[in-house]
């Protein structure tokens, strides 16, 4: 038979052991959560890294493609611009030609009037000549 004192001592020891077990179990659990969080954080970071790399690469590719396309578009636009400038010059030259033609036409009308007057004078002179004294002989 154990004395009461011994009984008390045993209880006290068990209680101590239980406490220690509980403490260890908590630590393990805490450690486990910590590790899992660490792994989760690593995965998040890794994902972020991969995604960033992927996005950067995609954007770079896209920028490169757009730059090349823009270069092509610019070259085409430059070519078109050149053609438009040439056309503009041609239009300007033709405008001058037409203006010049217009002024020549005005001069032509004046010349026709002068010629008409001159021809009338000539007709008058020829009619006079017809009346010349020798002409009737």
């Amino acid at each position: 038979m154990m004395s009461e004192a011994e009984q008390l001592g045993i209880n006290s020891t068990q209680s101590m052991m239980n406490k220690r077990r509980n403490t260890r179990s908590r630590w393990k659990e805490f450690l486990c959560i910590f590790l899992l969080l660490l792994v989760w954080g690593g995965l998040v970071y890794g994902g972020f890294y991969i995604a960033r790399q992927y996005l950067d690469k995609s954007i770079n590719n896209m920028q490169q493609t757009n730059a090349m396309n823009m270069q092509e578009v610019n070259e085409r636009l430059d070519s078109l611009n050149l053609e438009l400038n040439n056309l503009r010059k041609e239009i300007s030259n033709t405008d001058k030609t037409l203006s010049s033609s217009g002024s020549i036409q005005v001069e032509l009308n004046q010349k026709i009037e002068v010629l008409d007057k001159q021809l009338k004078n000539l007709e008058k002179s020829l009619n006079i000549l017809k009346e010349a004294p020798n002409a009737r002989r």
């Binding site: 590719n61 053609e83 032509l108």
Partner: protein
């Protein structure tokens, strides 16, 4: 264990998001690329339109150039034609002048200035002699009708009128008569006299057969029988006198009164050629050893032969006088110069 499952689920969530993101991103990035196909199509279309415009414009430019060349050629042709017409006109005028001169013979006197050109010819036909002046008026104001001493009622010889006015050439003018006023002879012109475009005195149509002859403001010979002042003024007369009859008008011989047709007399005539040159003729008469004078019929024949298109008889008889540069060239029938009321002078 529940916590572990939760954590695993949490771990899977970002991976799933990552997978979804990367999967969807490829499609999204394609949308961010420039729509090159559309751009190429638009640029190709623009290029085609531009090329089409260029082609059409080339045609327009070609037509504009062609038109300009045609205009320039026409301009040149017109210049050439105008010069040719001008040369032909000058040639025609020259031939006409040569033919007139051929009929008149060689001039015995010549004068030319900026305002007038005068050529004087001798007229020598069977039975009569005289002088002809062909006058080319560049300035109609060189032709003047002058009243004797520049006043009504006075009389002076043609020589005096020429010297007084400083004229180169002078012939006697229109008809006149003399009446006594306050014991003094007073010369009165018959019919109408126009000086510098204005009638001297009131319009006078009496006796109805008097013809007016002179020049218009443009220097052409005008004449006719006028019963009203407005008929005369409608011709814009610049200078002129009156007598009888009209010999040739508009190229046609005018019928003349019988009593004027058959008598040999000294004559003074003013007329015009078709080119506008004036002709002034003075025929001497009443001098059997020199010139018997001429009938108007014969004179008309001579005028027609010379090519005169307008001819008017002026005061003749003893009044007929031809003065050139201060010298009386003809031989007036009175044996001396007769003072007259009007004279026609040509200024230098």
């Amino acid at each position: 264990m529940r916590v572990v499952n939760l954590l695993i689920a949490l771990m899977i969530a970002p991976l799933l998001g990552l997978w979804l993101t990367t999967t969807g991103l490829s499609a999204t990035t394609q949308d961010l690329l420039l729509p090159m196909e559309e751009l190429r199509t638009a640029l190709d279309s623009f290029q085609q339109n531009l090329s089409s415009i260029e082609e059409r414009f080339t045609v327009v430019k070609s037509q504009a150039d062609s038109q300009k060349n045609q205009y320039e050629e026409q301009h040149e042709s017109l210049n050439t034609l105008t010069k040719l017409a001008s040369n032909h006109q000058k040639k025609s005028d020259q031939i006409y002048e040569e033919r007139i001169l051929m009929m008149l013979g060689a001039p015995v006197k010549e004068y030319a200035s900026r305002r007038v050109e005068i050529k004087v010819f001798k007229l020598q036909e069977l039975g009569y002699r005289g002088y002809i002046a062909k006058v080319k008026l560049f300035d109609p104001k060189a032709f003047k009708v002058v009243l004797a001493k520049d006043k009504l009622g006075a009389k002076e010889t043609t020589l005096e009128a020429v010297k007084r006015t400083g004229a180169i050439l002078g012939i006697n003018g229109g008809g006149f008569y003399t009446e006594m006023k306050e014991g003094k002879p007073y010369g009165i012109h018959i019919g109408n006299v126009v000086i510098k475009g204005k009638l001297v005195g009131p319009f006078n149509a009496y006796p109805g057969n008097l013809s007016f002859s002179g020049i218009s403001k443009s220097g052409r010979v005008i004449g006719g029988i006028f019963s009203e002042e407005k008929q005369l003024m409608a011709l814009n007369p610049w200078q002129g006198v009156s007598f009888i009859p009209i010999l040739i008008k508009g190229g046609a011989v005018h019928p003349i009164p019988a009593d004027w047709a058959k008598t040999n007399q000294p004559r003074t005539i003013i007329g015009e050629y078709a080119n506008g040159d004036l002709i002034m003729i003075v025929v001497d008469g009443r001098q059997s050893d020199w010139s018997s004078g001429v009938t108007l019929e014969r004179l008309i024949e001579k005028l027609v032969e010379l090519g005169v298109k307008e001819g008017y008889n002026l005061d003749g008889g003893g009044s007929s006088t031809f003065v050139y540069k201060g010298e009386v060239l003809n031989k007036p029938s009175d044996g001396k110069l007769r003072p007259v009321v009007t004279n026609i002078v040509i200024m230098p």
